[in-house]
Symmetry: C2
Subunit: 132 residues, 2 copies
């Protein structure tokens, strides 16, 4: 845990918004002016692979980061890219969750997506080194 990594994590924990890599870079640069953008990306990757932060991919092709460890899902604004948290329980059905969104968040709901992430049969077979 280097100084850079600690500050990156600290900045991420200080905000309830979900900043992008370059937003984090800007924040961290105020405390550590010589830090490199590459260092920010690398450490976000390290922190995320250790499960200390979460990486969210946005429809814009950008990624946003989240230091929260609690299990929650997100509401994303299609207009400005803002991301808010939305606590969910796994035993709740989709309709029930969806119905709660407008009330809880104030978002005008347009739609939702459930995405499962895993390893497909093909990749599970391989030694995981080569991509298809």
């Amino acid at each position: 845990m280097t100084e850079q990594r600690r500050i990156i994590l600290d900045e991420l924990e200080k905000t309830c918004r979900h900043p992008s890599a370059s937003e984090i870079y800007e924040r961290v640069k105020k405390r550590m002016p010589h830090i490199s953008l590459g260092t920010v990306y690398r450490n976000l990757e390290v922190l995320s692979s250790r499960g200390m932060i979460k990486k969210l991919s946005m429809p814009t092709g950008q990624k946003r980061f989240d230091a929260g460890r609690e299990d929650h899902q997100h509401v994303r604004c299609l207009s400005c890219g803002r991301v808010d948290d939305l606590p969910t329980q796994a035993d709740e059905n989709l309709e029930a969750i969806a119905a709660r969104v407008s009330d809880a968040s104030g978002y005008r709901r347009l739609g939702f997506a459930v995405d499962f992430y895993g390893i497909c049969p093909g990749c599970a077979g391989e030694t995981k080194k080569e991509r298809q």
Copy 2:
């Protein structure tokens, strides 16, 4: 509806996979060797804005496209980026759906995310032109 646009849509409808823009480009190029990658992107955008196809953003920063109009969700391979369909019912709870994934798809399940897309209160107020 130009020849190019028709062929792009046709290729998208022919596959149950969810190809990326460049995969679509490769497929279409076999039938129309002089087509430009820009034309593929532009027409995917047009088709998607008319609601004729769906655009999915991947954690890799790539987008994938889907001609299906039925309501279904996706399973994504974290290793190779493959996307498969996964029919879901809104009255089923997340655990039940998740439990079905491994069996139905053969994927080794790792996790899931529910994402709601909408317009946040701030943007709903504005005339929707200016970004924050």
